[in-house]
Symmetry: C2
Subunit: 346 residues, 2 copies
DNA sequence: CTGAAAGCGCTTACAG
DNA sequence: CTGAAAGCGCTTACAG
């Protein structure tokens, strides 16, 4: 059985009365073509509704004009926002986008990358658990396969790599500063699984540094899973203690939502008893009650930039490592209020 | 310039000392092959890290083993959840998934479908603005191109179509019932752009029917854009009126979030002054304060089912129209409380 | 059970 | 400026 019959370049050639070579050249605006011939070919192609078969082209050019995108999860809108940016830029450049998510499971990264390589994408945009780890099998495989890629959100670019992100440590310092300026002295940080996100390690770094610079006691750092609904016993213990923190920095907005919810369950109001600052800047944060104070990353723009960088690598316009560190900003929200006066706190 | 040199079927054949035909048959477990030969081929393929080039295969078989998914927006987690289901099922079946979103702009649907057809996907899973409209260009194009597809969320399957969804009218009746049982007599509904979602038309139908059956005055229905942050003047007017509704049904969870936020801005508390019930069942709703009472759709399962149906059509295992109407359920949440007593309301 | 050959739909030197 | 031909990497009747 052969291909379902669709119009091919031969049909167009026949209709226009030229060879398939001329059709190819005309439609791709490649080489020189007589203006009149070109017009005839275009008309024939249009009349027949001709769409070049990408498989034929890919076989010959060794380019699929499809890129892959791997993110930890599409359920976190931060990645959906970034993907929207990638999609926009890719579409404008005539690329298709295959997506895959690893569910915050670092073990699945290599397998997904492998499958994307097997699908012969032209390049990959991806966020990995730990870009610096020697154990980042995914990146090694990519390098080994000579596959162009751009890291998104991860800060570290390898020797031949490309990365688009923000300065996570600086952003976390901003978050700390906002809490400290509101009078909070007892700070804490809630993070997800550190092994699943190197961004959080940088955020912790910045947050702890800012606390230290302000002369505060080192904030307690609690980590929770990204996927479970509950934050776990350490979080509960921290906020049920008499000297509980009054300022909480969460490594992602999604964690901040969970934290606010759980604090309420403990009988603590936000921001009256505890102020919460998130990280990511997803839209939903603005609609919540209280609205979420957070660090806003330019997610869509990051996606677009990652695509632009990747395309440069695919086209070999730019070789060598390249990094874009985009601007973040702090967004005020109702979840951040003044620290309770000493009398209010046990 | 030719293909970047990767191992091809010829390399494997040479290494195993057989013809490429035998390699193909062995690796695809097609036809009969001597056990010993098969083992030798497999070993050679493994040693060389051979990955069949999908372009070669696609050209010959006229199958790309890639499907397309088009949704209104990935920023609404309901679609991200469904996509996760599609992805899971597709991966298990060895299919790649190309995604595209139309941003709730019906005009872009046809264009996106066209581009997916041009990319030669084997089939499409999609949610369109209005599946019944004669103006659903996207579906006409699909039919014209003989492209298998499965509608997701849309209820109506065309003569040759496939659809996976829930009974939106029945679900909206459940939502109404929950409000009515809590004592609410003045109901209202907030919807997005009706022209961008036929689901909402069915939800309105069910909601109004339930109100009518309960002998209530016809609820006011306000519609807002899906993308703007603000709900608009009609919403404000409705809830600033002295005889404002006490029970609000929102056609999506995202709208419910916005509504709760805006009600607060008007000085109305949820659920003390107004109870809110959403629709979709996205995870974030459970973490909010108040948590969102809502209709839960089995989004992941819907995605998986849509893929299964699509695969049946691609493989021509099942022809003719097919519909799956999955079960929804009502989830209680803090946003739904008893109706304020008459004395409380102006 | 296995191999030689044809052919899927393109692009691209190479002649002319 | 245009065409004939080769070839990208596979699969699949067809012989043997």
């Amino acid at each position: 059985m052969q291909a379902r019959s669709q119009t091919t370049i031969h049909d167009v050639a026949a209709r226009a009365g030229v060879s398939i070579a001329t059709v190819s050249r005309s439609l791709n605006a490649t080489g020189v073509t007589n203006a009149e011939t070109l017009e005839r070919v275009r008309a024939a192609a249009k009349e027949l509704g001709f769409r070049p078969n990408p498989a034929g082209r890919a076989l010959k050019t060794a380019r699929s004009r499809v890129i892959g995108v791997m993110v930890p999860s599409l359920r976190n809108p931060v990645f959906a926002d970034a993907l929207a940016g990638v999609e926009r830029a890719a579409k404008a450049a005539g690329y298709g986008v295959i997506v895959a998510s690893c569910g915050y499971e670092p073990d699945r990264e290599a397998e997904i990358v492998e499958s994307l390589i097997a699908q012969r994408v032209d390049g990959l945009i991806l966020t990995v658990a730990d870009a610096a780890a020697a154990a980042a099998d995914a990146l090694s495989r990519l390098a080994e396969a000579g596959m162009p890629y751009a890291l998104l959100y991860n800060e570290i670019a390898r020797a031949d790599g490309t990365a688009v992100g923000i300065d996570n440590a600086a952003a976390a310092r901003s978050a700390a500063k906002a809490l400290i300026e509101a009078g909070h002295r007892r700070l804490a940080m809630l993070a997800g699984d550190f092994a699943a996100s190197d961004r959080q390690i940088r955020r912790r770094e910045g947050f702890l540094a800012a606390a230290s610079a302000a002369g505060l006691a080192p904030p307690v750092v609690v980590s929770a899973g990204f996927s479970e609904a509950q934050l776990g016993p350490a979080f509960a213990a921290l906020f049920r203690a008499p000297t509980r923190p009054t300022g909480l920095f969460c490594a992602t907005d999604m964690l901040a939502f969970k934290a606010i919810r759980e604090l309420r369950d403990f009988g603590l109001a936000v921001p009256r008893d505890v102020s919460v600052v998130g990280f990511d800047g997803i839209g939903i944060g603005e609609w919540m009650s209280p609205s979420l104070a957070t660090i806003v990353q330019p997610n869509g723009e990051m996606g677009e930039t990652a695509f632009a960088f990747l395309e440069d690598r695919i086209e070999k316009r730019i070789e060598g490592p390249r990094t874009a560190t985009l601007a973040f900003h702090f967004r005020q929200g109702e979840s951040l209020g003044p620290a309770p006066t000493e009398g209010d706190t046990p």
